[in-house]
């Protein structure tokens, strides 16, 4: 009899514990629902002719987050801009200016660490102007790289 009570006690405790567990984001009563990120366009092309000058590309960023869900957005290059002939442009040559400034921050691209691009509460839309300094020391050619946006919400 004592043994049977013991088992019952464990089962009840387990059920209560499961009821209090925050579930994955898709469960309605389990923490913040998912946030979504939309970037337009998904490709940008810098054209650099006569130096010294600055090439500019612009993207629109839309974060969809219900209510006042907090979020933060980071950006990281997967490497330096690379040409087929092996020449490189360091990722740090790319900078950006975000607006509105209270949501989207100014920054410098890195291929070592994610850099903070924005943070906010709820849905936001902003524009980020990417700048690439054009100088004589760059080798001529076509350079390519991928950038990775990471939107997270605690």
């Amino acid at each position: 009899m004592k043994v049977r009570k013991g088992i019952l006690s464990i089962a009840v405790t387990l059920a209560l514990a499961l009821g209090a567990i925050p579930g994955p984001a898709s469960l309605k009563a389990a923490g913040p629902p998912g946030v979504q990120l939309f970037i337009t366009p998904d490709k940008m092309s810098f054209r650099m002719d006569t130096p010294p000058s600055t090439a500019v590309c612009e993207v629109t960023i839309r974060v969809i987050a219900p209510g006042r869900t907090p979020w933060r957005l980071t950006l990281q290059a997967l490497g330096p801009l690379q040409s087929p002939k092996g020449f490189q442009i360091p990722a740090s040559r790319v900078t950006w200016k975000g607006s509105p400034g209270n949501v989207f921050l100014d920054g410098t691209l890195s291929d070592k660490h994610p850099q903070m691009l924005g943070r906010g509460l709820g849905s936001k839309v902003g524009v980020v102007r990417f700048l690439l300094q054009n100088s004589w020391d760059l080798a001529a050619g076509q350079f390519n790289q991928k950038l990775l946006y990471n939107l997270s919400s605690p």
Binding site: L37, M44, T50, W136, A140, F143, N144, P154
Partner: protein, 175 residues
């Protein structure tokens, strides 16, 4: 005991899953960097050309005379080898009073500090130009390079009295 252990593991996993909602997106970046080249001569005249004047001097006292300096600046962007050549025009300095009076280009030389890109420019004697001319600069690293050139004329009693002039052209090639 086995049931309890399983429950704890499950609780832990659920917390981890709910820790953070996350979304990622990629952006492709292309940059087109064009070839470009610019060459400037900075002397005592305006942009695009420089003039040097050799002083009149007793060849006995001064077997050579110098003129300059002229700052030669080469700016280029390439993924090949850039070069600067000097190409003299005609046979040499030609007299204004009598065009038959000629001081051959081979009597003139130029030199610079010869650093880096302009390493080939040290003590270059000018012969009659042929082809691209006389190499005074070469390099593969895109950038801006400048050096100060001075010019030397072999002085001689054999030169006819006249006022001589001539033109050389500096050319930057950046493929």
């Amino acid at each position: 005991m086995a049931i309890l252990a399983l429950a704890l593991v499950f609780v832990g996993a659920s917390f981890a899953q709910a820790q953070q909602a996350q979304s990622t997106a990629g952006l492709t970046v292309n940059a087109t960097v064009s070839e470009f080249a610019a060459l400037t001569l900075a002397g005592n005249t305006g942009a695009g050309a420089a003039t040097i004047t050799f002083p009149n001097s007793d060849p006995g006292a001064n077997p050579t005379v110098t003129a300059g300096p002229v700052t030669v600046s080469a700016s280029f962007r390439t993924n090949g080898t850039a070069t600067v050549y000097v190409l003299p025009t005609g046979a040499g300095l030609v007299g204004s009073a009598h065009s038959s009076n000629v001081i051959p280009w081979s009597n003139i030389s130029s030199t610079s500090s010869g650093a880096g890109f302009f390493a080939p420019s040290q003590g270059v004697a000018w012969g009659v130009g042929s082809g691209s001319g006389i190499l005074v600069g070469t390099g593969t690293q895109s950038g801006v390079y400048a050096d100060s050139f001075t010019y030397t004329l072999l002085n001689s009693y054999n030169y006819n009295v006249d006022s001589y002039s001539g033109t050389v052209t500096y050319t930057l090639l950046a493929p």
